[in-house]
Each structure stands twice: as structure tokens, then as C-alpha cells.
């Protein structure tokens, strides 16, 4: 068995010595970087095997990509932080996601399921495998509509700043977590997303979350979105046989959080 593993590792090491090909960032007819394609923004250890994780490292090294800034804890006000700690102590049992509710922004971007970006001259459309969700992001200069209702994904308006797509998202309800266990927010949440296709295979994703109700200052988080050639958006219907709610009720009768 040990020998078998050693041979397998040696085999994959040989395969990985090939240098990744670095293609230029594609552009649309109007000269903008073309973000179109199927991407994934989180859960790489779930989605990819060891060889592919290694290939990602090699690609980043060959492309001269620098590590993203390290994650920072959310800058909650004291009362809000207390509430977040309670959510943490309950091990995520209160997670809206476990009840199959639609994730908001930026969390939906880092769920471990792919999404497809379709870039058009007047708008960008994002179709997410998770929740069958979609976002229309106009880039034709219009603002937010004046009849917004609070919603899970909010309302998005985009603009180009050089080679970066900047998306202003507002009009959220309070049924989502920002990113990570217990990261609740108010209806005053505003998220600014920045999508920069820094190489052919990657987008640097930056999300700045502002919520004067619960945060002391803007909270900035980053992720690398990775291109998934040959991938297609499949179906994932979370509510089909979700046993979590019944299980959580059972767990709450125990000392599971001690």
C-alpha cells in the first residue's frame, strides 16, 4: 500500500513539472476585460484533487500572483460581536444556509459551487449553481431603482474603473450572513465588489462591507475566483430532502455546544 502511494505521488509530481501555459486576459470588442466564463470562488479543497490544488499553486507562481491580503475578523460593535460569539458557540446551527435560504453577497461568491459570468456591453449577468440564483448587473450608467424591496441578493449596479468591474450592492434583507458563521447584518448593509481579471485563469475578488448599524468600519475581504474550463452549471436543489432542521431541533435538546 505504502509503495503504491509513493508511485502515485511520483507520477503526479512528473505530470506537474510541465509549466502552465499563460494566456493573455481576453477582452471584449469595447476593450474591457472579458469576465465571461465559469468560475468558482471557494471550497477548492472540496472540489479539487491534490494534483489540481498543486497545479493551482504552480499557475500562481508562474503568473507571479501575490498572495491575497490575509482575512481579518469582522469589525463588529461590542453588542454585535457578542451576538456573533453566541452564533459561534452554537456551531453554526442558526445558519440561514442550513435552512436552504439564499445566500447573500459576498457569501454566494465563495460557496463551493461554480457560477457563470456572462458579460454583455450593457450589463453583466451572474448565474450561480447554488440556489439557482442569478444577478443582473447593469453597466449602462443607470442607478438603483427607486422601488427596491429588501432582498437576499440586494440590488446590483456596476461600472468599470479601468480594468476592474465595480459593483455597488444595496437593498438587502437581514436573512443572510455576510461570510462566515454568525456574520449577521442590518438592512443598512452596502457591499462594494471589485472584480479584476488579473490573469487568464483568475479574478481577484474584493468585497467591502459597510453597515453602520453593526460594524465599526468597512470590512474588506478577498478571494481568488478560478476559471473552470469545460465546467458547466448543474443543478443543486437544497430543500429537496433537507434533514438539518429536524436534526438541529434534536441537537438543541442536548449539550452539543458545550
Amino acid at each position: 500500500m505504502a509503495i503504491g502511494i509513493a508511485i502515485l505521488l511520483a507520477g503526479s509530481a512528473i505530470a506537474q513539472t510541465q509549466k502552465p501555459t499563460l494566456k493573455p486576459v481576453p477582452r471584449t470588442a469595447d476593450g474591457k476585460p472579458d469576465l465571461s466564463g465559469v468560475w468558482v470562488g471557494g471550497g477548492f479543497a472540496l472540489l479539487f484533487g491534490d494534483a489540481e490544488l498543486e497545479a493551482i499553486k504552480q499557475y500562481d507562481a508562474a503568473a507571479g500572483r501575490k498572495p491575497l491580503p490575509p482575512p481579518e475578523p469582522p469589525p463588529y460593535k461590542p453588542d454585535a460581536e457578542k451576538k456573533r460569539q453566541e452564533f459561534l458557540a452554537r456551531k453554526g446551527i442558526d445558519d440561514p444556509m442550513a435552512r436552504c435560504l439564499l445566500s447573500g453577497v459576498p457569501r454566494i461568491t465563495v460557496r463551493p459551487l461554480p457560477f457563470e459570468i456572462i458579460q454583455q456591453p450593457h450589463r453583466v449577468v451572474i448565474i450561480y449553481e447554488v440556489h439557482h440564483a442569478f444577478r443582473f448587473i447593469p453597466t449602462d450608467g443607470r442607478g438603483h431603482p427607486d422601488d427596491m424591496e429588501p432582498s437576499y441578493l440586494g440590488d446590483s449596479v456596476g461600472r468599470w474603473e479601468g480594468d476592474t468591474l465595480v459593483v455597488d450592492v444595496t437593498g438587502f434583507n437581514t436573512n443572510t450572513w455576510l461570510v462566515g458563521v454568525g456574520t449577521f447584518h442590518s438592512e443598512k448593509l452596502r457591499v462594494t465588489e471589485r472584480y479584476t481579471r488579473d490573469t487568464h485563469d483568475t479574478i481577484i475578488y474584493e468585497a467591502t462591507m459597510e453597515d453602520p448599524e453593526v460594524l465599526t468600519k468597512p470590512w474588506k475581504q478577498y478571494a481568488t475566483l478560478r476559471l473552470r474550463p469545460g465546467e458547466r452549471i448543474r443543478e443543486y436543489e437544497c430543500i429537496e430532502n433537507n434533514e438539518d432542521i429536524q436534526r438541529f431541533e434534536k441537537l438543541l435538546q442536548t449539550d452539543f455546544n458545550k
Partner: protein, 131 residues
Amino acid sequence: MKFACVIALSLLAGTSAVSAHHSFAAEYEGDKPVTITGTVAKIDWHNPHIYFYVDVKDAKGVVTQWKVEGYPPNMLVRQGWKKDETMKVGDTVKVFGWRARANPTQAAGRDVTFADGKKLNCGPPAGTGGQ
């Protein structure tokens, strides 16, 4: 608590812990790994997670049925699984995973080794969830 903290700090980092759906730490104990070997009795190939049931016989011949939770179908196909082909009722399998808190014969499956030696991931690493 330990897993929840790890998840909270992982946040948006590219290789951070995430699950397709729910919190691992709430339902499973990542410090209680378990390996079971037995015969597949039933497969529920459905969302948001598949479940398969394995009849495990002890030294005295007493059979206990384990319930194993795995990825949803859309993630299993990306790990090389095919419905009705990769795993069939009656197959002998070895499953590695972690014990459930509320059910002594339930586990979160990580990988399955089949009779021909083929091994496939069937679920996420311990401690993921809640991203």
C-alpha cells in the same frame, strides 16, 4: 467551538473551509473519526446530501446499519461518481468519516474504498461548513 473558530477565521481565503450546505461542526465530531466496512443496503441519491446505508457485521455476526452522509449529486459527479454505477446495493465498501453527535450509527463520509481497491471522495473534509 474549535471548528467554528477555524471557520470564522477562514473567511474568504481561497482554500478556506466551506460546505455545500450546512455546518459540519454542529452535526458531526471532527475529532471522532470512524472507519466502517460492510455491505451497501440502500442509496438515497438526492439533495442536499446523498445518504447511503451500510450493514456492518460484528464478530458475533450481529448486523448494525450505519447511515452515511455525503456530498450532493452535483458535487459527487465532479468527484467521478455516477448514479447507479459507482456504488450499488450489495457492494462491499470501506467508509472513512466522522461520527454524528446525535446518532451513534451515523457518520459524515469522507471517502469510500470499493472492493476493487478504487477509492473516491464522498464528502467534505472534517470541520468544513458555515463559510
